[in-house]
Amino acid sequence: MKVRRVMLAVGIVVVAVALQTTLFTRIRPFGAAPALVLLVVIAYARHLPPDYALGLGFVAGFLQDLLADSPLGLWALVSTTTAFFVVRFRDRLEDDFSLLGPFVFGVTAGALALFSVLGTIFGQKTLADAGIVRKIVLPSAYNLLLAALILPFITWTLGIARRRIAAFRL
């Protein structure tokens, strides 16, 4: 059971990365795409036990790093921090989407802002990007919209009806 769910989670992360790098090449409203992998990390971190949530965040980020042009470990750091943040605050959130939506928006924006700051520190000149605000705000807004689909989907894949019942047993 454990292995199957872990494999499923990793599989969903892989598909999210593949969608991020292929489907969203062409679907880019206003010149930006959702940060789908971050959204999947947020969705899993709401339910998984803290250790697993951090591990999944690291794996998702590291996979991004391996396919990105940025230094190895940068996305892993951002993704793990995102998972840690969600783990810390998840108990204060109800399943109400009116609360979860802004939370997803804020966490995504924070993660992208963290990436741009760290990227600049490590020589990627991300803050020098002319469209930096657009590149943070638009993916966060798209994540807010996609959260209505992705969060319930991830909950469903974990076989739990609501987070509150989340005596999650991997």
Binding site: A18, L23, D51, A76, G119
Partner: protein, 324 residues
């Protein structure tokens, strides 16, 4: 009083992962794109390419649907623009034909061999970067097809970027708009050389040094960089500008290639070594009193300063897309 024992298990694991990530970043930066990091990247890219191909095929109808919707709105406007463009191109074609004759005459006069066409490899864009901050494209041709690191990549309009990593079946192209990219360019109209820098999204920054002349809106910037064949269109100036203090000029330019919506590209079989040799050969043919212009970028910024090809008033007449 704070003690390490006050940390809960989750925070401890988080700090451990953060330290691990920072170590990875440091090691990767010190390796400068080589070593284990590079091997892991190439391996992952090669292994992930079939997944990306499969997902791209499966999601193509979805992408087509959304693209068609957006196209419907822009089609009418685009049609009008294209009509204007056709009329403009017909006019330019006539001008170009007469210029070709003139170039031939001048080349014969100077004893320069007409530039030979470079070999090229057509490729399709398979995937983009993993985030909005990643200015790369993954193309479906690799070293098995003859693609090599540092080769220039163009589309029908101009320079798109250059190959930065290659596996057997795919290659990664860094776009010219990447903030770490700096390209030595020449203003086609005046022959002045300068440096064009990427800024992620939006217009690129053009800097001319030791320049007395102004640039005007619409001025075409072509490559004058030893890493690329000379004369490839790169960008058009979007803001007229004059020299400021100490003869430096700074303005903005828009890439001519469809950098954000590129589907098919051509990889030019051209390497820096090849360029270096050709440049030296060209230098030997030039009169000794012809001034050369280094035109490199400001020190300490971006990737290593681009080596420029020799720029003189005679080379400005070489047609775009030709070899140096």
């Amino acid at each position: 009083m704070w003690r390490p024992s006050n940390l809960d298990r989750t925070t401890g694991i988080f700090i451990g992962i953060v330290v691990l990530c920072l170590a990875l970043v440091t090691i990767d930066l010190r390796a400068s794109g080589e070593g284990l990091g590079s091997t892991l990247r190439d391996g992952t890219q090669a292994a992930f390419a079939p997944v990306q191909r499969a997902v791209a095929t499966v999601t193509r109808p979805v992408a087509d649907f959304f693209e068609n919707i957006s196209d419907m709105f822009s089609l009418r406007q685009e049609n009008l623009q294209l009509r204007d463009r056709v009329a403009e191109l017909e006019r330019e074609l006539q001008e170009t034909e007469s210029l070709h004759v003139r170039v031939g005459e001048l080349e014969a006069l100077l004893g320069i061999q007409p530039p030979q066409d470079l070999d090229s490899i057509a490729a399709q864009v398979l995937a983009v970067g993993v985030s909005e901050f990643d200015h790369v494209r993954v193309i479906d041709k690799g070293s098995d097809d003859g693609v090599g690191v540092d080769m220039p990549v163009v589309d029908e309009a101009g320079l798109v970027g250059r190959v930065v990593a290659v596996t057997g079946s795919v290659a990664r192209v860094r776009l010219i708009t990447d903030p770490t990219m700096a390209i030595a360019v020449r203003v086609e109209r005046t022959g002045e050389t300068g440096v064009l820098r990427g800024r992620g999204s939006g217009p690129m920054t053009l800097e001319l040094f030791g320049s007395n002349t102004a640039v005007v809106e619409g001025d075409l910037l072509v490559t004058a960089d030893a890493r690329f064949p000379a004369g490839i269109a790169v960008a058009r100036v979007t803001q007229a500008a004059r020299s400021e203090v100490q003869y430096s000029l700074r303005t903005e330019a828009q890439p001519v290639a469809g950098v954000t919506r590129v589907d098919f590209v051509l990889i030019l079989v051209f390497t820096q070594d090849e360029a270096g040799v050709t440049d030296l050969e060209d230098l030997e043919r030039l009169p000794t009193d012809v001034p050369t212009d280094p035109g490199g970028p400001a020190e300490g910024e971006g990737e290593e300063p681009p080596p420029t090809t020799t720029t003189t008033t005679t080379t400005t007449t070489v047609a775009p897309g030709s070899t140096p």
